[in-house]
Assembly symmetry: C2
Homo-oligomer: 575 residues x 2
């Protein structure tokens, strides 16, 4: 049985001891009302919802799955009720625009809540995160009228969101899409085309589904500069803003897939559907990226959440399951065997998950803080840092999160491979995080190409410089060494990239991992410094030691592979 | 659609150019009849069976699954017919004892065939490998009568094998099992108990199923020294050796699991079933290990096979799928986009799979050769090498094999996550290899504890010394450095293990991986040296370069983590 308990102690430690949010928010008037007590209460309530409402229907979602019949999708048992509590509690509007019914909470707080919702029920929360993302996109690019019409309904979850980008021949390469948008006399557009992989494109959770659809105008430029974005609601809002006439599109099928069975992945057929331009003509991809960037961080949090629930399950099992004897002598001499937890290799597995998950949680909050400063304090550098770190968060969290679910499954042995305990579901559900919202390879190329090489590594170096300003007591030398190494790898890549056109791509994945492990190291040192003398604090410092001894060594290896001659990767005969 | 093509060129290259089997077999009279042409023909035929018969029913096996009703198991559509061809072709008796109808072929050749059968259809071949393993165990420990009765039927696949070890509370720790065996007046035993995770314990492929069951005699010593092994056939053979009376056991259920849906994983209830002692009383675990060691290498080959089919699928997709443009300029300027294969990160993924799979194939043949020399040339050192390397083969092949299926799935993007292409099935099927036949953590502890620390690293050093004797032209320095490092890590572990009781366990997984990557490096250097000047040879050397640049750096990292202070892993507060 999959169970989930909010990691409240760790969240509060990060909020109040590591990142000291009140200090960090001193120059952000928008956050003046958010006291420590309020934040603590919000996190507490969100944790209860996750553990008490979302998690209990998670396995049923996998076993029943979303069902498709005659164009309609029926969500798994209990999903509708659980979603109603998620939406009714205002959680989808948490970071939303207060002018339209949102609560204007810091992204940093939103990160914590999203991680818990993902952990508790990935399939169900997908409908939530797409709603939040659609609202964000409309808030950023919509007219006042569009905002008034859509935002309150999305924040309340009465209506939900879907993003329609992919076509069967156009995935990572959206420039070659074919869906067409023809302008109509009334200012609307007729949208015609077929999209695939549309999460929550059809479901029975909400009164209306607001699709954000990418399509091409008749005389649009070729490629990605000729794509526009449209609001295409399932039911066209009537004069009172209520769902009216059914729009001209429908789901044609849902996919059979490895996991997230409780989330309908739809084939959508738009057959002259009515759409409304969102933002400027031919600027759709950029507008969609507002949503994509939000989703990318959010999908990263899916990875963290997966790691957390996997850890909780595996740690509990390792305490209970009796198997073998401790190398240093029995600890349960009266029983038939000792608990698994005495075995060093089992502990290695559990500590690896914790080191990666708690390191990632700190990273997520750090990125959340940069987003908040960029948006609410007008801090352009923080904004640049958030853009630099978003692809790292998406790819590194989901890669490590998948790894963590596999490790946790391994702790269960054969019992991890059968469905009963739910561990294999966690693995299957976590796997999608590495693929959707831009594959992790795409994230790595975004990082190295757009975010690092394009400015000669300046933003990255500014970030490292800022990180170096915080004096560290624990692990200072290891962190300094890793920063030096990351800088020198970056310099060499910048120097060589001009002459080696394939270098960026060949180095991309190693480089992203290098950035990830390096910054986790810095965050673990900060956590070790911030930890107190109680049991929680002692354990944190022990975990920091473990990270430095067992995971930080990845950085030297990745530095080497990132700098490998790209000709080895491009050698023409070897594939 | 999953398709599989035998990697015949690579197999022949390894057989005749790298390992030069005729030279290696000069002092093995038992192999005198196996000419190059014969071996070539056997490999060719085995490849046809794999690609043409086993692979075509693989996806149906996943989709339909084995079905359980009223104690009976129905195998998926097409499995019975495909198994009949596998068995009818004599493939299950390939390495069997010629006195009883086996073909006495070298294990090294058997490795190649098994890899292909696994690749083509893991679920189906599970019934095959357990039959081969059961025959091996009876051949090693049975009486003449038992051999005459069972071996011909198992070699022909008329009867199949199953191994019954695990109980719900006793998995890795078999010493605490409860199944009882009571001696009867006629020399047989009454077997009573419940076993779980019994692969092919019940199915409709064969006329009889020969269970090898571990159980405890009434006054047996506690723990693993009190376990005996029994032959417990589903139908008791009559006086003519034909299936007679139904024995007193049945399947109670089959498991719902992550993958290998076409393979029934049975709960078996032995209710006073008639069993026949195999080997000596209370020596069952050692006897079962004859089978286990065979199965461990075989399960390792499952990992290699998974990597190979995953590579073939992903490489073909990357050649076909048009998405994006090459960093160095379009290669398909007239088309809407270039094929995926132009992208360095996609090539990195494909080359990683190849480097690991082809390196692993060479490793498997090397282990097969040691097994052959131990068994047929009375070479005690080769026997010791095979025992040292078996846990590495099992764990390293399956860990890397799983990684390879995940990487290949990633090449497909979203299309890899949906069921249609079969890539997600490969991932789910490969995952079990890391768990069964002793989890990979158990393998790592077997390696470091029983095979390395117990003799102070002598066997490992003798192996390295033998490897160093072969003069290398390519990558000699990198290999020497890796050997030096492995020796020095081994020395330090030997030195510290006495004072650090948890060191072996804490270091185990890193150490096993260190051994694996190091020996793959040596094998890649040997392959580079053996490769000719044709396209195949050039590609091999390019892959060797890739291995050295992108995977060999793992060895330095693993050396560091293997030597980490075990107190960090054992710290009591951190879990």
């Amino acid at each position: 049985m999959l169970e989930y308990r909010a990691p409240t102690d760790d969240l509060n430690f990060l909020l109040f001891d590591v990142f000291r949010v009140q200090e960090a928010w001193q120059d952000i008037p928008a956050f003046a009302d958010f006291s420590d007590d309020l934040i603590r209460a919000v996190v507490e309530e969100g944790g209860k919802l996750a553990g008490g409402v979302l998690a209990p229907v998670n396995q049923a979602g996998d076993q029943h799955g979303a069902r498709f019949e005659d164009g309609a999708v029926t969500m798994p048992p209990g999903f509708k009720e659980a979603f109603a509590e998620l939406a009714g509690g205002g959680w989808l509007g948490l970071s939303g625009n207060p002018e339209y019914g949102g609560q204007g909470m810091p992204k940093l707080v939103g990160c914590l809540l999203e991680e818990m919702f993902w952990a508790a029920n990935t399939s169900l929360y997908l409908s939530g995160t797409l709603t939040v993302g659609a609202a964000l996109c409309i808030d950023a690019h919509g007219t006042d009228e569009q905002k008034s019409l859509y935002l309150p309904k999305l924040y309340s979850g009465e209506w939900t969101g879907a993003m329609a980008l992919t076509e069967s021949h156009a995935g990572s390469d959206l420039g070659i899409m074919r869906t067409k948008a023809e302008p109509q006399a009334d200012g609307s557009y007729r949208i015609t085309g077929n999209k695939i992989f549309i999460t929550s494109g059809e479901q029975d959770l909400s009164d209306n589904i607001v699709h954000l659809v990418l399509a091409k105008l008749p005389d649009a430029p070729e490629g990605s500069r000729g794509i526009s974005l449209f609001i295409v609601p399932k039911f066209l809002p009537d004069a009172d803003g209520n769902p009216g006439e059914r729009n001209g599109f429908a789901a044609g099928a849902i996919e059979h897939k490895m996991g997230i069975h409780g989330s309908p992945t739809c084939v959508m057929n738009y057959d002259g559907a009515t759409g409304f331009l969102l933002g400027e003509e031919n600027q759709g991809l950029a507008a969609m990226f507002t949503m994509m960037n939000y989703e990318r961080l959010s999908v990263g949090l899916q990875g963290l959440g997966a790691g957390e629930i996997a850890y909780q399950m595996a740690a509990a099992y390792a305490q209970d399951r009796l198997q073998g004897r401790a190398p240093s002598g029995p600890v349960n001499a009266d029983g038939p065997a000792d608990p698994l937890i005495v075995h060093p290799d089992v502990r290695r597995m559990l500590l690896t998950i914790r080191a990666l998950t708690e390191g990632g949680r700190a990273f997520a909050m750090f990125v959340g803080m940069q987003l908040d400063r960029g948006r609410y304090a007008g801090d352009a550098q923080a904004q640049a840092f958030s853009e630099l770190l978003t692809p790292v968060a998406k790819a590194f969290f989901t890669d490590r999160g998948f790894e963590c679910t596999v490790i946790a499954q391994q702790v269960f042995g054969g019992h991890g491979y059968v469905a009963e305990w739910g561990m294999e579901q966690l693995v299957r559900d976590a796997r999608i995080g590495q693929i959707y919202e831009g594959t992790n390879g795409i994230q790595a190329m975004d990082l190295i190409g757009r975010k690092v090489l394009r400015d000669g590594g300046e933003t990255l170096k500014a970030l490292i410089a800022q990180m170096r300003e915080i004096e560290l007591t624990h692990h200072a030398d290891a962190v300094t060494e890793a920063f030096d190494r990351l800088e020198s790898v970056t310099d060499e890549l910048v120097r060589r990239a001009g002459d080696e056109p394939d270098l960026a791509g060949a180095a991309a994945t190693s480089y992203l991992d290098l950035v990830g492990y390096t910054i986790y190291g810095w965050l673990w040192a900060r956590m070790a410094d911030a930890a107190g003398e109680d049991g929680f604090g002692v354990a944190k410092r022990q975990l920091a030691d473990f990270y430095m001894a067992r995971l930080m060594p990845m950085t030297a290896m990745l530095a080497q592979t990132a700098l490998a001659d790209s000709r080895m990767t491009m050698a023409s005969d070897a594939i």
